[in-house]
């Protein structure tokens, strides 16, 4: 699949995963790599960027019988950004789909 499509949408996917529930970095990386074929390492820089922009925040959670894990969670800003981006993406995808179908009326 075209790498440019993937890159544009990674942030949105990550926000979407976090919107479902708080997750730690590895969880996000694994979930994402089952959906899109990307290098595992791509996720962490994006998470840092989202944190810099104030869209996500982190906290340490004590897991029984293990070292504390760093959990990522959406801030209020992150939640509203996600909703906005989600709408924008879906609208965009619909527009492109309509265009592509228009180009070949026989399909």
């Amino acid at each position: 699949m075209n790498i440019q499509y993937k890159k544009g949408v990674l942030e949105l996917c990550i926000l979407s995963l976090l919107n479902q529930r708080d997750r730690y970095g590895y969880d996000i990386s694994e979930s994402l790599s089952t959906i899109i074929d990307i290098a595992d390492g791509t996720v962490y820089p994006i998470l840092r960027k989202l944190k810099n922009e104030g869209l996500v925040t982190t906290y340490l959670s004590e897991e029984s019988g293990g070292p504390p894990r760093k959990y990522y969670s959406l801030t209020d800003l992150g939640k509203s950004e996600f909703q906005a981006s989600k709408t924008e993406w879906l609208t965009f995808a619909n527009t492109i789909e309509a265009l592509l179908k228009e180009a070949n009326p026989h399909e």
């Binding site: 990386s29 790599s33 290098a39 962490y44 820089p45 840092r48």
Partner: protein, 237 residues
């Protein structure tokens, strides 16, 4: 490579890119190795799936561009201010040019009217046969039309260039992620483009033909290849 090699190289690359909190980042990737190993992957597999440390470090570099380096920010601001000044000067020149073109068109149109309707206001029109004047008048109008079209397109082009610049400017300031650039040329429909081109070509053709025939009639009337000499157009008063 194995886990130790990967983390070592990553640390090196992060340092090269002057990334802050590199310790934090290394810890995160260390965790990643730990969990993946628990899931049964080998260190080599994990390292290869992570990608190249150099590329990862590069990504951190682009992402932290907005927050690090007060110095970098100041440089960007200075650069933008200089650019803005240059663009402002360009805008002033552009306006002046368009004004000049506008006056030229008006002057042409006025001359055209005078010549076509045989109104020799203030002795502006030099001596020439009625027919020549008429044709030359039409030529003036055609040229005026042509210059108007060219100026209009030029104006639209500059407006679009301005728009593109403003968007780029805004993105630099807000450090927006990479978007495709805004078009620098005016977006016209095929019909509009065709219409403009046809009108321009017609104006050009009309101008060429009328100017030429006017000249020919003048030569015939004067019996001389340089009618303006025969009729003393350019003599000092």
């Amino acid at each position: 490579m194995n886990k130790a090699q990967f983390l070592q190289e990553l640390a090196l690359e992060l340092e090269k890119q002057k990334i802050e909190d590199s310790k934090d980042i290394i810890t995160e990737y260390e965790e990643h190795f730990t969990f993946k190993l628990e899931d049964g992957y080998s260190e080599q597999e994990i390292a290869s799936k992570l990608g190249q440390p150099a590329e990862i470090a590069a990504q951190y570099a682009t992402f932290s561009a907005g927050t690090t380096g007060k110095k970098a920010n100041i440089m960007i601001w200075i650069g933008l201010v200089v650019l803005d000044i240059i663009i402002a000067l360009f805008l002033i020149m552009l306006t002046a040019w368009i004004l000049v073109m506008g006056m030229f068109v008006i002057a042409l149109a006025a001359s055209g009217v005078l010549m076509i309707f045989n109104l020799n206001v203030a002795g502006l029109i030099p001596f020439m046969p009625r027919v020549s004047a008429f044709l030359l008048g039409i030529a003036c109008f055609a040229l005026a039309a042509l210059v108007t079209i060219v100026t209009i397109y030029f104006f639209m082009y500059s407006a679009q260039l301005m728009r593109s610049y403003i968007v780029w400017h805004r993105r630099i300031i807000t450090n927006a992620p990479k978007h495709p650039p805004v078009a620098k040329y005016p977006i016209l429909t095929v019909k509009q483009r065709r219409g403009l081109r046809h009108t321009a070509l017609i104006a050009l053709a009309v101008f060429g033909i009328t100017f030429l025939t006017s000249f020919i009639t003048m030569v015939i009337a004067a019996g001389f290849m340089a009618p303006w000499h025969a009729w003393d157009w350019f003599l000092k008063v």
